[in-house]
Subunit: 491 residues, 2 copies
């Protein structure tokens, strides 16, 4: 099976749109004349959030219609298996300290399907830091020391490296100190500590922050960066473990498909792919969803599992509540550019590097070995020096070579910025968005439950947060529909 999404390039085949994906669903719909006139719940979006919501509601006996604009499940997290190797087009890494995703991994007995991305035992075992003053080579221990020192300076606003600002990283409320740090950007914070950073620390910390946010230093909320840091146990070592270390041996789509299969096996799931939604009308007793193709579907409840940046592409009647509309108009800032290179240089297996601020791809690390023995390198750019990889493969190659010289056999990527169903990569907020609008984004409106990793409490922006939110929506809908006062209650 293949998806329309994604691009691949090789010398022989040139640039091709569309790549293989086991998450592409055939047939694209199971709607039929016997499908319900009115569903219990419609779920819009088949990313992890929508998949979780669809699964939990359908398994609990509700009649569910899942609508998805794409031809595949997974949303911003999906993998393409090319040449027997899974390239992760979006969300990749998971960790057993992430509660929602790890619970699912255990539930599907996939705990032994996890492997470590990097391998510092082979080949060129170096960290290349290409900054304004040329390229320097370091050991990975030196890399860790630079990053650890730089990040500790960045986050140490309270003498406890952020622990007082965010003591409970899954809390629904902000401490007063936390609110204060949502009024400033990482650029603001960096200007406060600029005299304390060495030049290499400065390059390292700026590139790391941009790797997290996909924005610019000016559009990256310092609070949201502190939140990532708190979730990662307030340490650089924790950041590595939680953010870039453990991934599925067979790719994200091998995991996502479990949710879809389980929902389908309930017998309560109707689904339609290639069905982008144009409008949503909410009345007292039902919600009507109309696709761009003109089909209308009705349900008692709606779970919108669309990302923040695309909510404005759907017409809501009545319109989105004021605060929710304001958040949607602001949007999130992440325009990450993630490019995979399959390279013939086996010695690069232990490579990591930064090339910043001049290079279009500023972060790279070796991420695996393909069956043919090539090295897989994953690289990242963003709003800073933003580009569209498919517009010029030569420019893309230059950006890759700007990280480390490599002999490129294949390039694979998904352009999230031009993806109409994402309009960006994972959520990252500019200053003010969270302190002003997190509760707005999370609020129910009439019969519509809004669920997205973009406004999760804990691992917001992550697969974990998507599952957290899909879980929340499903239990809320179930409470609305099933747990009526007529049911038996505890004395």
């Amino acid at each position: 099976m293949s998806s329309r999404d994604g691009y691949s390039w090789t010398q022989e085949q040139g640039l091709k749109a569309g790549v293989p994906c086991i998450g592409a669903i055939q047939p694209p719909t199971n709607l039929n004349p016997a499908s319900p006139d009115i569903f219990d719940v419609i779920v819009i979006g088949a990313g992890y959030c929508g998949l979780t919501a669809s699964r939990d509601t359908s398994v609990s006996g509700l009649k569910v219609l899942l609508l998805e604009g794409r031809d595949r499940i997974g949303g911003r997290s999906w993998s393409s298996n090319i040449g027997g190797y899974p390239f992760e087009m979006g969300g990749t890494w998971v960790y057993w300290g992430q509660p929602n995703v790890w619970r699912e991994i255990l539930r599907y007995q996939m705990q032994d399907s996890i492997e470590i991305s990097y391998d510092f035992s082979r080949g060129i075992n170096q960290y290349l830091l290409a900054g304004p003053d040329g390229t320097q080579r370091f050991s990975h221990e030196e890399e860790d020391a630079i990053m650890d020192s730089a990040l500790r300076k960045l986050v140490n606003v309270d003498g406890e490296f952020g622990r007082r600002v965010i003591p409970f990283p899954h809390s629904a409320t902000f401490t007063p100190e936390a609110l204060q740090f949502d009024t400033i950007s990482v650029a603001d914070r960096l200007s406060e500590i600029r005299d304390s950073l060495t030049p290499n620390e400065r390059v390292g910390v700026e590139a790391f922050v941009l790797l997290c946010s996909g924005g610019t230093l000016e559009t990256t909320s310092f609070l949201e960066f502190l939140h990532w840091w708190a979730l990662s146990e307030y340490s650089y070592d924790g950041c590595i473990k939680y953010l870039v270390k453990y991934k599925f041996r067979d790719g994200q789509s091998s995991f996502a498909i479990q949710f879809f299969r389980e929902a389908l096996s309930s017998g309560n799931l109707t689904y339609a792919f290639n069905s982008p939604v144009a409008s949503v009308t909410n009345t007292k007793d039902a919600v009507t969803v109309t696709t761009r193709g003109g089909q209308s579907y009705r349900a008692k409840k709606l779970i919108s599992a669309m990302p923040l940046n695309v909510l404005n592409a759907v017409t809501f009647d009545p319109p989105l509540q004021k605060g929710k509309k304001a958040a949607t108009d602001i949007g999130h800032v992440n325009q990450c550019v993630k490019v995979h290179a399959e390279v013939r240089d086996r010695d690069l297996r232990s490579y990591t590097g930064i090339s910043y601020p001049h290079n279009h791809l500023f972060y790279g690390l070796a991420d695996g070995v393909t069956p043919s023995g090539n090295t897989h390198i994953v690289t990242f750019g963003g709003t800073h020096q933003h580009f569209h990889p498919e517009d010029s493969i030569d420019k893309t190659k230059q950006a890759l070579q700007g990280l480390v010289p490599m002999d490129i056999e294949r390039i694979v990527f998904h352009n999230w910025s031009r993806d109409e169903f994402a309009k960006g990569a994972w959520f990252f907020s500019s200053p003010g968005l969270l302190s002003n609008h997190l509760s707005d984004m999370r609020a129910q409106q009439g019969n519509i439950h809004f669920a997205s990793s973009d406004w999760a409490l804990g691992w917001r922006s992550f697969i974990d947060g998507a599952i957290e939110e899909g879980t929340r929506a499903a239990i809320s809908v179930r409470r609305d529909l099933v747990e009526s006062p007529a049911k038996p209650k505890l004395a």
Copy 2:
């Protein structure tokens, strides 16, 4: 509501059996003439494992009968609210790095119902180490340094502090190195490193290990201790965070009741408390469960959520499979004695201490402040110097005073060793049990699914592991009963 379980003592009231508990269920059964002749599934045991299994199956539409010998939910984790303060009779602490329990905390929106046990900002801010050579006083920083150093010596069998032995702490398989360390006890390991430990390190590490295992050093599998260490991120700091830091402001029973209420609201849960099971008969198509009172119930599937140490009290026909029977005959070793003291000494709020090896309670820490302003101190003993607190309150008081002088107003405890439905506290294994029998303990037998925190893969012995196992059993039963080939399948 009150439970028969637990004891409290005050000068005025003396020793009383039975304490208040919001997890005591009234009415004790909702069985009625309309109850099914045959259920889809019977769940034996209403601890977190059985509650999770009952909830997940009943919410998914299966007709469930939950049988429990006690008058309350929670099994080995329950709280008693006395004087407006929750005393935790068993399992207490949770952490957001524990995936199964934290997923539920988020799901029930209880993420802001968590508080920190200790408070090192008030009163006597000291660590008292009462060893063979008398009592010494240390700061908590010195305490941490002693424990950190001692534990790192204990676990550093691979030059990486256990990371090579257990790289994936939720794995279903053991590395070869891991298997080797299940052949020895912590006593064996301590004899290897005895020359490297200072006397204080020795006292600290022995007491800490016994706090974890509730056995003796000789009966504590070194591998299982390494597993706790790996789960706790291979650090003493991690042990504190995961094991003894964060608890429910309103007690464990305020959490457990959520599971029960949700299951009940499905309309699919029948339950009977005060219904200890005498026998289980498994035939090809059904399971018959007979209580000690002589009532028999039938179901297509059975989920046994009883702990390892009580399986032998139930007659299985056909008998338990050989490996499972062997594990049951071995049992686990944890005979933890947990005693709460409410004391008038406000200055003890920042106390921690060890009194070992001579004292019957060898570990204590201040855990909260009661509404009347008293300090709550929680203390631990075990197989080492084992005693039954209700047999002599004077002896219990002496053991408390042996930790630190205190002015005792109230004593609260649950004697897990004499509890016929637990026969011990949380699971801890002697050498050999896990490497020989973990897969036996986890195995299904006919229509019987065996689920318990005692054989969870990840946070085995913890509330998290109980939920992991209840989840596994529920999905397995559902697959057996619902996901037949007749249901629609993914193309």
